[in-house]
């Protein structure tokens, strides 16, 4: 497909055009960290960033997702489905690892088409991803080991490469191409630009030093559900759940009902949950199969590196390194995986 050039100074222009049709989400600096928010003023967009501290998963999977609302009218119950699910969105500036996490999310929310979560899937279908290649992965990143790459293009509609004062623009999907075509003012890319993008991709790949072997880990996990390692790796954990809340692939949620008896109405809401919480999988009887942090830490590793691969033939981690970097107890996932790799079968 033909490649184009977008000058960085034209980001405002791009926003002005695309925000007519789409709700435009992009990274901003909120109170000292980078997160994705709906943009009202393009001057707030931050594009010179390593990766957002908060992954953009909340754009489609918010901390509070209303599944339906209801009200009583006399004896009748009126159910109101959520509105505007098909509202058109653009997530601009998403990194390849986070874009890939949206695919893993979609797998979970469709379960091979057998059990579709229309709320998530409708939102995803109507969201265009404009990704930017990751020129400088962090030391904590390991996307290349888990099916990703700092310049992976497959999961976005339009892929950009940061060339300094401009972006190389490549449309990946059909709807991406339609958008690029509509921006007739985009410049033409020359061979030098394309070559530079290739070099940046190679350089970024070389910057990733952590290598893990998910297939080997999956096999080892199968045989070591009971192993002293689970007690060891959970020792320093304080069960704060930061790993899950900052994880782009953590999908777990809790469903609650809020009944407003005074106004004869209520709502059912999906909120984020984490397997590190003591209430996670707590049964009505009071029994919890994951009763201590040992089982809960094991679940986190098992889910991403054993259960998810079995269900979807992919690793349930995109290697973004957020849990590594931000764990307050420095319970480093890279080291946990290395230790698991060393378990002898």
């Amino acid at each position: 497909m033909e490649q184009k050039i977008l000058l960085k100074k034209d980001i405002g222009k791009l926003y002005n055009e695309l925000s007519k049709e789409f709700k435009f989400y992009a990274p901003i600096n909120e109170k000292g960290y980078i997160t994705f928010r709906k943009i009202e003023n393009p001057d707030n967009i931050v594009l010179d960033y390593l990766n957002s501290k908060i992954p953009p998963k909340d754009v489609l999977f918010p901390e509070k997702d209303i599944l339906f609302e209801y009200r009583y009218e006399g004896k009748e119950v009126i159910i109101e489905e959520p509105k505007n699910l098909d509202e058109k969105k653009i997530i601009f500036g998403i990194r390849p690892c986070d874009a890939y996490s949206f695919e893993l999310f979609a797998n979970f929310f469709s379960f091979h088409g057998n059990c579709k979560d229309e709320i998530y899937l409708t939102k995803k279908e109507n969201t265009v991803l404009i990704g930017i290649g990751c020129n400088s992965p962090r030391q904590t990143c390991f996307c290349t080991s888990v099916g990703g790459h700092p310049f992976k293009k497959e999961n976005v509609d339009i892929f950009l490469v940061d060339l300094g004062n401009k972006y190389l623009v490549e449309s990946i999907s059909e709807r991406g191409e339609a958008i690029v075509k509509s921006l007739s003012w985009l410049g033409k890319a020359n061979d030098e630009d394309k070559q530079k993008a290739e070099e940046l991709s190679k350089k970024a790949e070389e910057m990733i030093t952590t290598q893990i072997d998910p297939d080997k880990i999956d096999k080892i996990l199968d045989e070591n559900f009971q192993h002293p390692i689970w007690s060891e790796i959970s020792e320093s954990c304080i069960s704060c759940g930061t790993c899950a809340y900052l994880c782009p692939t953590c999908t777990c949620f809790d469903v609650i009902d809020e009944n407003d008896a005074y106004h004869n109405r209520g709502r059912r809401i999906r909120i984020w949950d984490t397997c590190q919480s003591c209430l996670y999988t707590m049964e009505t009887s009071g029994h919890n199969p994951r009763g201590s942090k040992i089982e809960r830490c094991r679940n986190r590793i098992m889910h991403k590196f054993s259960y998810y691969p079995k269900n979807y033939d992919l690793t349930g981690c995109v290697g973004c390194g957020r849990c590594v970097l931000y764990c307050p107890a420095n319970n480093d996932l890279r080291y946990i995986l290395k230790e698991i790799e060393q378990i002898e079968s």
Binding site: E63, Q139, G241, L246, I256, E258, V324, P328
Partner: protein
């Protein structure tokens, strides 16, 4: 003596004491800190064998309040046959206060705990450094002389230590634990603590509307992950009020009113109990600094009851105790 040198001395003493405690079988395990794998971090570690004591470190990135591992006791510290293991714990001032406060509240038995006291020289404000460095990758951080040196690819920046430690550490009057079994250097005794609460003065000068706005803005980004609660050594309830669902007392969503309810009620539970370790703020994934709220409560408890949490094992905190002459201005007189 520079901070770096001071740290090395403390670290060596911690290892010596830990080695002796393990060798003499006075404790089964030592809980301390070990070198982190990413800059600006350390990781809590359990040492079982005296040959491993050199893994213990002390530096200005020891964020976690280690008392957290004792209440409730984590399973790794309980032997199926012997029961509670005897634990030696590397204890800076706020960890020591937490241990005493937990003992007062009958959550831990200090007979099974050996307090290795250290005079803490302050913990680096990771958030502030990260915020000021911005979107550049930090690769190495060290404390040298009186500066925090932050290095990355193509940059090196220096921050004055005394300015870039946690706000709580700047105000801290209890740097070493109030009760110790062994002490590295000098550990002070605290009968009464004088604190001017300079850090809450600016907040106090605000009007009620401004305070309300400040608190609302502060908490607006909360995701209700409860990391603050989980890291807090004084939050040990089996089931937090906000998790109860028979009946549901409070909403669980991120609606602003629900966020406020959670934090303000949790703060109330901290009155006279918070040990000002700052764990809640240092673990928050979105960087909310709850310390102003807890410090204000600490000040109120100090002014009204002349009570400072975690220094006197024989004194109940005001919310657990009463005296006949307590002020009761909230009681309405009968006409």
């Amino acid at each position: 003596m520079g901070i770096e040198e001071e740290n090395q001395k403390i670290e060596k003493s911690i290892r010596d004491i830990a080695r002796d405690l393990l060798k003499n079988k006075e404790v089964d395990v030592i809980i301390g800190y070990t070198e982190g794998t990413v800059p600006l971090s350390t990781s809590p570690i359990i040492i079982r064998d005296e040959k491993d004591v050199d893994k213990l470190v002390w530096n200005n990135f020891c964020y976690i309040n280690l008392a957290k591992y004792l209440a409730p006791r984590m399973p790794q510290l309980v032997d199926p046959e012997k029961g509670e293991l005897k634990v030696g714990i590397v204890t800076k001032g706020c960890v020591g206060r937490a241990l005493i406060q937990l003992a007062i509240e009958k959550q831990i038995n200090l007979d099974n705990v050996k307090i290795i006291g250290i005079p803490c020289n302050g913990i680096v404000n990771r958030r502030r450094i990260e915020k000021e460095i911005g979107e550049k990758e930090i690769l190495e951080v060290s404390v040298s002389e009186d500066n925090i040196i932050v290095k990355g690819k193509n940059f090196e920046e220096s921050f004055p230590f005394s300015e870039y430690i946690n706000e709580l550490c700047k105000q801290c009057k209890i740097k070493s634990p109030p009760k110790v079994d062994s002490c590295v250097g000098e550990c002070g005794e605290y009968e009464s603590v004088f604190d001017e609460f300079n850090d809450v003065k600016e907040f106090e000068s605000k009007t009620p509307d401004e305070k309300w706005e400040y608190i609302n803005d502060l908490l607006s980004t909360c995701t209700r992950c409860y990391a603050c609660r989980e890291a807090c050594p004084m939050c040990y309830c089996n089931l937090c009020f906000v998790d109860q669902n028979k009946p549901i007392w409070f909403g669980k969503t991120t609606d602003q009113t629900e966020i406020l309810m959670f934090h303000l009620i949790r703060a109330m539970h901290m009155a006279g109990r918070c040990v000002a370790c700052g764990a809640c703020s240092s673990v928050c994934p979105v960087g909310i600094d709850l310390n102003l709220i807890t410090r204000k409560l600490e000040q109120m408890v100090k002014e009204r009851y002349n009570f400072t949490s975690g220094i006197d094992i024989d004194k109940f905190p005001p919310m657990m105790d009463f005296e006949m002459e307590d002020e009761q201005e909230f009681m309405l007189e009968e006409d």
